[in-house]
């Protein structure tokens, strides 16, 4: 029986200072089971007293081989796996997959589907940021924010349950549009969120933004500048906190984001506090987008009507022979996109999420590679944490908002 081995200190010695081998400094594991690493993340720290000299992240504890598994499933079935990666932004994982498949097959999602997608995506961003604000404040000792954030997050998850029957693993967005139209209660439920949210965000800010303990723990910690961030491929709020207003929703709009009026919040400090400010402002902008999308929600179909790629509605199957044949072919063999490879990106709450999808002219994806935003964020941990205290390291991990399902896939 083969046992799982670990890297020895000797194999890692190029990542530590020479003092680590002689025992002058201490090498300490943080994680993989640590409450403030937000999942199964292991950091191997070299410590001089309380000061972090080097930090070596070790990931892969949540590796599920999703990219390999997708190669063995048809395009429709592979989508279900994508929910399970970034479990805080499941709608976005579905969307980037659907955008890539739509680009391959030249499907076009209708206007109503696009508007509903935008609403659901921004709600996903809100619930991801809510969990982030709760847990990262909890790590720094602010208990109460977590409870309030969870209360509001529940409202959003209820909307997901309303439209798809699932709270998190929704698979609601499908190639060519949506699974089905939203129920009539949807608009009222979203309207309620839009009404209460600005005040609720004010109340989180009242607890944190001017809180002297929170400011002491976050200001000037975990600094990074724009040049380093770009070289290390860091995107999302971490990049925007360094002063570069880069957002895929503005740079390469998808799902009709160009129709909505919203700002890209930036800060110039590049520290933990800056990232906090950017994310809180992003929550306000998300509410703005949801409000605009809801106000001009168009009527019409929610799926492309190309029967070679999109399953026909249930009502047609009983009366149309062609619909029955298409339904049968789509759910047994699947659809066949042309040969070629595409790359699609969207803006996830953590940064740029991309999908490289290659088709070889068979009903299964030949190669699917997710470019996930958490990998570069974790990769710069050694830069962010150099010379900080162990207590500040907790704040830094919280501030970059990693999701381990996203890094490990």
């Amino acid at each position: 029986m083969r046992e799982i081995q670990e890297f020895t200190l000797d194999e890692l010695k190029h990542l530590f200072s020479p003092k680590a081998l002689t025992g002058e400094t201490m090498v300490l594991n943080m994680g993989p089971q640590h409450p403030s690493t937000h999942g199964v993340l292991r950091l191997i720290l070299e410590l001089d007293g309380e000061i972090v000299l080097n930090c070596v992240p070790d990931i892969g504890y949540l590796h599920t081989g999703i990219e390999k598994n997708m190669e063995g499933k048809t395009y429709q079935k592979a989508e279900v796996l994508t929910d399970r990666m970034d479990y805080m932004y499941t709608m976005g994982n579905n969307l980037v997959y659907c955008l890539a498949v739509e680009k391959l097959t030249e499907l076009k999602s209708p206007a109503r589907a696009d508007a509903i997608r935008v609403i659901l995506l921004e709600l996903s961003r809100l619930q991801s940021h809510l969990l982030w604000i709760g847990t990262s404040a909890l790590d720094l000792g602010a208990m109460s924010v977590f409870l309030y954030a969870m209360r509001e997050r529940e409202m959003i998850l209820d909307v997901f349950e309303l439209v798809s029957g699932q709270r998190m693993m929704t698979t609601f967005i499908r190639p060519g549009g949506l699974w089905r139209d939203v129920p009539v209660e949807f608009e009222a439920a979203v309207k309620k969120i839009v009404e209460v949210f600005p005040k609720r965000i004010d109340s989180y800010e009242a607890l944190l933004t001017k809180n002297p303990i929170f400011m002491d723990r976050t200001k000037g910690i975990g600094k990074i500048d724009t040049k380093t961030a770009l070289a290390w491929d860091v995107t999302g709020p971490t990049l925007r906190a360094t002063g570069l207003a880069h957002d895929i929703r503005k740079a390469n709009p998808y799902c009709g984001y160009e129709q909505y009026d919203f700002d890209i919040p930036t800060q110039t400090t590049g520290d933990v506090y800056g990232r906090y400010q950017v994310r809180v402002e992003e929550m306000r902008q998300s509410v703005r987008i949801v409000e605009q999308a809801l106000n001009k929600l168009p009527y019409g179909p929610v799926r492309d009507n190309n029967p070679k790629f999109v399953p026909p509605p249930r009502s047609e199957i009983g009366v149309s022979m062609e619909a029955l044949i298409h339904h049968f072919k789509l759910w047994t063999e699947g659809f066949i996109p042309p040969v070629g490879s595409v790359y699609c990106t969207i803006e996830s709450p953590r940064g740029e999420m991309g999908l490289f999808l290659e088709s070889d002219g068979s009903p299964k994806p030949y190669r699917a590679h997710y470019r996930t935003p958490s990998v570069p964020l974790l990769q710069i941990m050694p830069i962010l944490s150099k010379g900080c205290f162990v207590a500040d390291l907790i704040g830094i991990i919280g501030s970059i908002d990693i999701v381990l399902g996203d890094t490990d896939r």
Partner: protein, 170 residues
């Protein structure tokens, strides 16, 4: 093809013997493996492609020469455009120079490719497995690595089943 891409594409095509193709608006340049670092350096320094957005590999298994394609997707925060490079890599002892010297974030991406696809990166500073345990046998994303449907190995019969497993494909 977006006209903002023209200068970069024509320069890479002329200087590094690249073959340009376009599919659904995505421009891909096939660059010889030995010139990939020079081409990426030119792209970064002269044409403002300041990010390596994604780096991955594709296995075209029964084919051996080239068996793999390395895929590099560059992004420019000035023009908001993507440009893809592909470099062919041979099947026996697959290796290519590391992109880490040009874009430091290639470090983990190449560790992941080495881990899952088994392509060696020459000059890489820290070529360990990223996701799988250090003593894992094989590279799962290769097309000849079995995709499930294997006998489940328990502690008491691990070695018996290990003997029956298809070894040639690992």
């Amino acid at each position: 093809m977006n006209e903002l891409l023209n200068p970069a594409v024509f320069a890479i095509q002329a200087r590094f013997n690249g073959q340009v193709s376009e599919f659904r608006g995505d421009v891909t340049i096939l660059v010889p493996a030995e010139k990939i670092i020079a081409a990426a350096t030119a792209l970064r320094d002269e044409f403002d492609f300041d990010m390596l957005s994604a780096e991955t590999a594709v296995d075209y298994c029964p084919q051996t020469n080239p068996r793999f394609h390395m895929v590099y997707i560059f992004y420019s925060t000035k023009t908001h455009l993507y440009l893809t490079f592909r470099a062919p890599v041979n099947g026996d002892d697959p290796k290519i120079a590391t992109m880490e010297t040009v874009y430091p974030n290639a470090n983990w991406r190449e560790r992941e490719i080495w881990d899952l696809m088994g392509i060696r990166f020459e000059g890489h500073s820290d070529l360990r497995r990223l996701l799988l345990p250090p003593n894992w046998v094989g590279h799962p994303l290769r097309k000849d690595y079995p995709l499930g449907y294997e006998e489940v190995q328990y502690t008491f019969n691990f070695d018996d089943i290990d003997l029956r497993k298809p070894k040639g494909v690992r």
